[in-house]
Every structure is written in C-alpha cells, then in structure tokens.
C-alpha cells in the first residue's frame, strides 16, 4: 500500500552555530492508511516537531515530506492548504480554537471551506459535538468553555470533516482520565470501523495500549519501533 504520508531523512534544525538544536535528525517514517500510531519519547525529543512536518505545517531543514506521494516542496501554498483541508485533521496541544467562532462554528469551518451543504454540515456538527459530550454547548465561544471542553471541540473539529488522517499532539494531556478514555475510545472506533488513520504524540499509557504501532523518539532520532497486531 502507498503511505499516506512519508518523511524521507527529514531534519529540522533550530538556531545555528553553537546554539544549533537538531529537533529532528534524519527521520524517515511512513504512515500507512489505517494505522493507529503513537509517537512517544521524553519531553523535547521532537514529537511535536515531527507531527508538524508530517502535517505540512513546517518545512524540513533537510530531507523531504511526501503527501500522497507528492513532495510538499513542490506544492503551491494553495495546494498545500487544500491538502490539509481535505485530508488532514489536526488536534493541537494547545487546542487552538478560533476565539470569535462558537463551538459549532469552529467545527463547521472546515466543511464550509470544503463547500459542504448547510443541512449536512449542521447535522454532522450536532452529532459530533453530541458524541464528544458537548451537546447543548454548541453556541458557546471557546472562552466560555473549560480547557477539557475546548480540547473536545478541537477533537470534534478535526474529525467532523472526515479527513484521511488525524494528527494529534498530546490530545489527552489536558483531560481528566475519564474524558480522555472516552475520546480515545471514540477515535479507536473510528479507526477500526472507518479505517481513519491516527498519529499521536503522547506520554499517555492509554494511547500506547491501543496503538498498533509505537515509534520511540530520542533526541530527534527514531530509537525504536514496535508493531502490534
């Protein structure tokens, strides 16, 4: 099978000279459709950096990133943003909701960009917010929601547009274990039933338990990989 996303000897360096930080150092990674991958490693090992490169949010210092077989360095800004819109869902460590939009509007936004009909948008948003346990809070703005609630909106936003792959940077870090487990079950179900691909960066044992593949990072390099049935 062709990988959805592939990094080829991708490096990301910050600073230069004495202060050079090799946040990622020649990492080659292929994400296959249907995987439930967890990237693990100590703080500062480069997990977030790797996810950002994989999602085309950042540009590698060396090496290349391929989305559906095409190098992102060859994509125009428009192609790249369209690719992200249609194929990738992001869940950020810091939620990153749009403050002027309500929970429902935040979820609706990507579908609006995609040109999905209003009726379907509304229905999907309602069902998804219900599913993440935010039924009745559709019209609240992010600043009227708790951190955990905001993270659930972020999860809903990432999934509601039905992308091929979801990149999640420590999605459960700010949630209580019950909510975290619920969300995780939901994602796991989407993975098994609908074949949605997930890549997590995490310290959370609950995610590691469920992962079909574990990628261990240390000092910006892949230290070890485990595949599980």
């Amino acid at each position: 099978m062709n990988p959805v996303i592939e990094t080829r000897q991708a490096s990301r360096h910050y600073g230069e000279g004495d202060t050079l930080v090799k946040a990622l150092d020649e990492v080659s990674l292929q994400i296959q459709p249907g995987e439930f991958t967890a990237i693990v490693g100590p703080s500062g090992s480069g997990k977030s950096t790797l996810l950002q490169l994989v999602g085309g949010l950042d540009i590698p210092s060396e090496g290349s990133i391929h989305l559906s077989g095409k190098a992102i360095s060859q994509m125009s800004g428009r192609e790249l943003s369209d690719f992200r819109r249609d194929h990738i869902g992001f869940i950020f460590q810091a939620y990153n909701l749009i403050p002027v939009l309500t929970a429902a509007e935040n979820c609706e936004y990507i579908m609006l960009l995609q040109g999905i009909a209003e009726k379907e948008r509304r229905e999907r948003v309602r069902a998804m917010l219900e599913r993440v346990g935010l039924g009745g809070k559709e019209n609240r703005r992010p600043n009227q929601l708790s951190g955990g609630q905001q993270q659930r909106v972020a999860v809903a936003r990432a999934m509601v547009s039905q992308p091929d792959i979801i990149l999640a940077d420590e999605p459960t870090a700010n949630l209580d274990s019950q909510t975290g487990a619920d969300l995780l079950d939901m994602m796991h179900e989407l993975n098994r039933k609908e074949g949605m691909t997930f890549v997590f960066s995490t310290h959370d044992p609950m995610i590691m338990e469920r992962a079909t593949r574990l990628v261990h990072l240390r000092d910006g390099r892949i230290e070890q990989e485990e595949h599980r049935a």
């Binding site: 943003s81 992200r84 749009i98 939009l101 960009l113």
Partner: protein, 412 residues
C-alpha cells in the same frame, strides 16, 4: 458569507480600535467631501459667472474667429435669426456682438478703446453688462432727437478723455469695407471702475456699431446661453447642427466656452487640481493611521491566522479576510460620512461661508464660499477611501497570507 461573518466578528472584537479606525476614515471622508463640495461649488459659481459675463456658453462665429478675432470675419444677424436661435431647446438667451477697436476723442485728448456693439435689450438679459454701469443710464439703443446714438464708456477711458455723462464722444476707425469710419456719440453711462476689465471699453448699440464699421446685418459673434456652463459641449453639437441647417453653404462654427476661453479654462482646471493636493495629503495621513491599526490587528492575530491556515484556509482567503475587514470599516466610515457630510454640504450650497475679503470681479461681488450638492462630492471621497482601504490592506493581507503555520502558532 463565512469570510464576511469572520470579518464582522473580528471587527467587533476590539471595539475601541474599530471605532477609532472608523472615526479617522470618517473624518477623512467628511473633510474630503466638504472640501470638494466647496471647491466645486466655488469654481462652479465663478465659471457660471464668467461664462455669462464674457463668453456665453456657446458662440457662433466664422471659423477661426475665436482664435484670431478680426473685423472682417462676420456672421449674419437679424431679429429673425436671434429668435430662431432662442427657440432651440435648452437655449435661455441669445445676443449678438460686434468687437473691434477705435481711437476715441474727447475734448482735446485721444485714447485707444475697445469697441463693443451690443443689442441693448438682449445683452442685458444675457450678461452682466447692465450691472456694470457705475454712473448714468444703460443704453436705450435708439438715436436721440439729434440723431446721435448713445455710448457707454469705461471708467479709465472716460477719465483719460475727461468725459462725463451727456458729453460727446468721437470714434475714429476703419470700416469693414476699408473706408474711414468716424462718428459722434453721446455718453449715457460710465462702466465700472478704472481698474476693471471694461475700463477701456466703449459700448455702442448694435445698430450703431454696424453703421460705424459698415457691416449692416452682420455681427462678429452670436452669443448663446444654455441652461448652465456644464452643458456647453452638448449645446455646442446641437447648435452646430442648427447652423449647418440654417446656412448649408457656409462654414460657420458653434464653439463652446471651453474653447473660446481656452487659456482661462486651462488655468481654472490647473488651479482646481492644485487645490486637491491638500486633499491627498489628508488622505495620506489618514491612511498611515489606519495602516497602523490594521497592521497591529493582524500582528496580534498571527497565531490565529496560523491556526486558520493549518486547518486548511488558503493563503488567498486569509488575504481577502484582511481586505474584507478593512473594507467593512471603510464602508461603514463612508456611510456615516455621507450622513454627516450631507447637511454640511447642503448648508454650504444654500448659505455658504463669508469670505474674509469679498472678491470683486468686474463689478460683481463674490462674498461667500459656496458648496455643491452633487453625487460627485459624495462618491469621489467614497471611492478614494475604499480604494485606500484596499491598498492599506495589501501589506498586512500579504503578511497574513504568507504565514508559516507553526511559526505563527508559536505566538499563541
């Protein structure tokens, strides 16, 4: 719709800044509109006066006469011709003039004068000639019992020749047939003051001038007044048709005042455009202020733009979002600007402000700066403000469009 919603919400976010931005654009709009109104109004008043006073709106002459007037190039004139011309659509008044020069004699001295032959009744209806009489009475047009025609004389000529009301004036010149022309007139009026344009004039009834210059049934210019000086070009075309029909064998020309008084017209245009410079400085200052706030609002939201971009908003959409936000501000400023500028411009048009020193041109006093209430004085500033808004939004918009999502999100 989505972008408009986002734009509106973003605008409402920092209300104080939004209000300040709208206010500065609003201030720019109102100042521009009022200045434009007053400029247009004042020039309008001046040009309407000038054309009535001197050129009329359209003239009918022999070709080349307006560029190079000469005694020998004349057009036919009669009551019949002038009333036929008066009946043309949009024509308000018609008269005929003879223009040449002569040497005037008083008691002992001589003085070169400009001779104007005018139709007393029609001229009084059309121009301000009657208002220029500073002493004595306007021409009656008929010879007196001794057979002398009346003449009106400019103040300077009168002083030089030492002549007053009722005195005799002798003119000597050459007739159109080459003969020596000389005749005697009785002074009925003194025109204007010694420093005025008409100071060296001698104004005769048309019949007297025709007799003097030996050009019976002829004049140099047929002067036509239309509805206003703006419509002179249309009237020009219309009257040229009339002339071509009336005199198919001749090549008489209808010429609009813009061409008759070419130099004057150009000077006025240049003068007016020079006055606009202050307007553009004003717009520039407003722009700098607005650019500053727009840039600030974009910088503050760098992280958010990063997120929007990360989840699939295209660079061009982000760019348009910024342009849209700025345009919404500009549009609001224009709407309230129209509401505020309307009464001001209306007041200027109806009342005006008094000049520190009234301007007097040929005996007519301009004492007020007047406004103009036209779509132009509202639309022009709106176009400038909206255009400026787009230009202002370019730089911040491109900045937002070029954001690299991770770099941007790090600022959150």
């Amino acid at each position: 719709m989505l972008m408009l919603k986002l734009a509106f919400r973003n605008i409402l976010r920092n209300r104080r800044r939004t209000i300040l931005t709208i206010l500065s654009m609003f201030g720019g709009y109102v100042l521009m509109s009022v200045q434009l109104s007053v400029t247009e109004g004042s020039y309008d008043q001046m040009l309407e006066f000038y054309t009535k006073d001197t050129t009329g709106h359209v003239q009918i002459t022999t070709p080349g006469f307006v560029e190079r007037p000469t005694l020998y190039k004349s057009v036919p004139v009669s009551e019949d011709i002038m009333s036929a011309l008066s009946e043309q659509p949009d024509v308000q008044a018609v008269t005929a003039r003879i223009e040449s020069s002569a040497l005037a004699y008083g008691d002992t001295k001589s003085f070169p004068v400009e001779v104007k032959g005018v139709h007393p009744g029609r001229e009084a209806d059309l121009s301000y000639l009657a208002d220029k009489v500073s002493e004595g009475d306007y021409l009656t047009g008929d010879p007196d019992s001794d057979g002398y025609y009346e003449a009106m004389i400019g103040a300077q000529a009168a002083r030089q020749l030492n002549l007053g009301i009722g005195d005799e004036l002798v003119l000597i010149s050459q007739g159109a047939d080459g003969s020596l022309a000389n005749d005697l007139y009785r002074i009925s009026a003194i025109l204007g003051q010694p420093e005025d344009a008409e100071a060296r004039w001698v104004v005769l009834p048309l019949a007297a001038a025709q007799a003097f210059y030996v050009m019976p049934g002829e004049a140099h210019r047929l002067i036509v007044l239309g509805r206003n000086h703006h419509q002179a070009r249309t009237l020009e075309t219309q009257l040229q048709n009339w002339v071509d029909n009336r005199w198919p064998e001749s090549d008489y020309r209808a010429t609009a005042w813009q061409d008759v008084a070419k130099d004057f017209y150009r000077t006025m245009q240049a003068d007016k455009e020079g006055g606009q410079v202050t307007l553009y400085i004003l717009v520039f200052l407003v722009c700098i202020g607005v650019l500053n706030t727009v840039l600030m609002s974009v910088m503050e939201r760098t992280g958010e733009f990063g997120v929007l971009k990360a989840i699939g908003t295209s660079p061009s959409r982000l760019f348009w979002l910024i342009v849209l936000e700025t345009l919404v501000l500009a549009f609001s400023a224009c709407v309230i600007g129209v509401l505020a500028a309307w009464p001001i411009n209306a007041w200027f048009t109806a009342v005006g402000i008094e000049m520190a020193e009234p301007m007097e041109i040929s005996g007519i006093v301009f004492s007020h700066y007047k406004g103009q209430l036209s779509w132009y004085v509202f639309a022009y500033p709106a176009v400038v403000i909206l255009l400026a808004a787009v230009i202002i939004a370019l730089m911040p918009g491109l900045r937002a469009a070029r954001i690299v999502p991770v770099d941007a999100m790090r600022t959150l």
